[in-house]
Assembly symmetry: C2
Homo-oligomer: 358 residues x 2
């Protein structure tokens, strides 16, 4: 396994002491100061940097989509991967502004990519996992993945960090995903990992009707009963991934673990990537110190995952897109937190009076 250095609490204190000398009332920048302290602890410096940053968008298909749990047809996963490669998706637009590099990974697409509209340069952007799996099995009927596939997907995530992010000097990695059916997998995982009932963690995904939502809940409940009959508490993370997981989710667990091992701040996006973050922290508790919750998704299960992680999201904008969009928006706040530490004047150098009682 990978070794993750625990973040050292002493850096939080040193960062807070430095922040108290900056020309503003104590604590006046709220969450930005907490974020800044976390960055200092992760990078072991009082002058942290968030750039260069990157978003890893992992895409895969889900056998469970055959049960009619999504408002969109499964071929959309591959179509959106082409869109990512061409730069026309929301994540491309937001990442460009933030100067975050976008790494698109085929973790297991059911459909062959239609590359006819791509330039050679756009084609070269695609990273293809060497797992050779075309999506998960339908977990209502059988395990989504074999143990070997779970381990292989984790390893793929780690390899991408080592081969692409580390050489680029990436300091902050946002987790993104795409996969028709993957809120169903994320809800099933959340129920399994937390012990909560499916109904408490299953939402409308890309926009299900009331009736379809009820169907989705029933599918998840039956699946959990099949794999974990009479479950009465949390299931171990690798077992949960094997039973009801997704290839992109397992891959992102690997990215989170390897990112933390390389002292990157790991920014969670919405429900699906946060489930990956939770699994990473369950596998390696030291990873928790490297995680930041980018935003609070509309998807109901996200709250349970954030609570299990003990994380407060930075943004709450009613987003439910995924792709890493909320995480990349949150990178601007991380950058602000770092800039404040690095660039602000102190009371002493600026000749500003402190409060008389301080």
């Amino acid at each position: 396994m990978i070794t993750i250095p625990p973040v050292d609490p002493k850096w939080f204190h040193q960062a807070a002491a430095h922040q108290s000398r900056l020309t503003m009332p104590a604590g006046a920048l709220g969450r930005l100061l907490e974020l800044g302290q976390q960055l200092c602890a992760i990078q072991e410096t009082l002058h942290p940097l968030v750039e260069p940053s990157a978003v890893v968008v992992m895409a895969a298909d889900h056998g469970i989509a055959a049960e009619g749990v999504s408002a969109y047809p499964p071929e959309v996963t591959a179509q959106m991967v082409v869109n990512f490669l061409r730069g026309g998706a929301a994540i491309n637009v937001l990442a460009r502004r933030q100067r975050a590099a976008v790494f698109v990974v085929d973790m297991g697409l059911r459909t062959t990519l239609d590359q006819s509209a791509l330039t050679p340069e756009q084609r070269s952007r695609l990273i293809v996992s060497n797992l050779g799996v075309r999506g998960t099995a339908n977990f209502l009927r059988e395990p989504a993945l074999t143990r070997e596939q779970v381990v292989g997907a984790l390893e793929t995530g780690r390899t991408i960090v080592a081969e692409y992010l580390v050489p680029a000097g990436v300091r902050a990695v946002a987790l993104g995903e795409m996969g028709i059916g993957n809120t169903t997998s994320a809800s099933a995982l959340t129920a399994a990992l937390t012990g909560l009932p499916a109904s408490a963690v299953t939402g409308r995904g890309t926009g299900l009707s009331d009736e379809a939502l009820q169907h989705k809940r029933t599918v998840i409940e039956r699946s959990l009963e099949r794999h974990f009959p009479g479950r009465s508490g949390p299931v171990a993370p690798l077992e949960a991934l094997e039973a009801v997981g997704g290839l992109e989710i397992a891959g992102l667990v690997g990215v989170a673990l390897a990112g933390a091992a390389h002292r990157m701040v790991v920014v969670l996006d919405g429900f699906i990537s946060s489930v990956a973050g939770l699994i990473a922290a369950q596998l390696e508790p030291a990873a928790r110190g490297y995680l930041v919750a980018g935003h609070r998704s509309v998807e109901i299960g996200h709250g349970a995952v954030l609570e299990a992680l003990g994380l407060q999201p930075l943004l709450d904008l009613g987003l439910r897109l995924g792709e890493g969009t909320g995480a990349v928006l949150a990178l601007t706040l991380l950058t602000a937190a770092a800039d404040i530490l690095t660039e602000m004047a102190t009371f002493e150098t600026a000749g500003v009076s402190q409060r008389p009682d301080s």
Copy 2:
């Protein structure tokens, strides 16, 4: 008075129709889509721009500070203006990253600026109001301002927009402020404008103790009773400014009105600048359509002001600094909202399937 063109609802519909063609599930970017619609309506285009952007930081002193309502001594107002000019304050750091120009305005400082540490270039950045007032009077004892001073401060705000922002082509203006004692003025204004009791809208400012907070509330209650004996409802905005206002607050009202008249989006920061936004909307209801609430301040009165404006803030990060910091952070979300409209692919051009029922 200034003429503000009302934003036309038809642009919201046209923008929403355009957004529905972009490659994402309907509504999946939540508040960013609403923001995008507002930008389209303000600029009357489906391809809005947020750049160039600017923050106007207005500073002034408050006679009420003599009553011991702030944790900091009054000379800090002028010291912080020097810090703004030197580029060492939080607002400078955040604005640099966002490429927002910072305009620092002396609206009425009690203390003479110590310019000895400033380079000629830094000195030249200061805009000095020609009102010739060294702060407000102590409104516990007399009206804070004369009617002429209120009107003059509004006019100064308008002039700054016309002379500095319009020539620079500014499309988004963030409102910033600095003034020891100005949360006391803002609380008194909020109570007067909304009819709420002082206790409901008075908070700790830069960090008062329990005892000092009680004193601040008492000062505000007594001041309101002096100027509006037996008040039983909202006070008119110019009367409120005259009685308990601030020069920087009145100046920002002028900036908001003139910004809206020039079709700029006007981004409110925390409590104090939002009071200015409320007054602008009360004076000219058409201004409301140009306002965006950047963030929710910790300061208790801010909620009442946002409710009176009917605005939901974009960020909620526990900020209570002012200077325009929360507004400038929110500019990144406005930029994202504009980029999404301008740069994203449509379902048709990207060859992505829409949901079967759409």
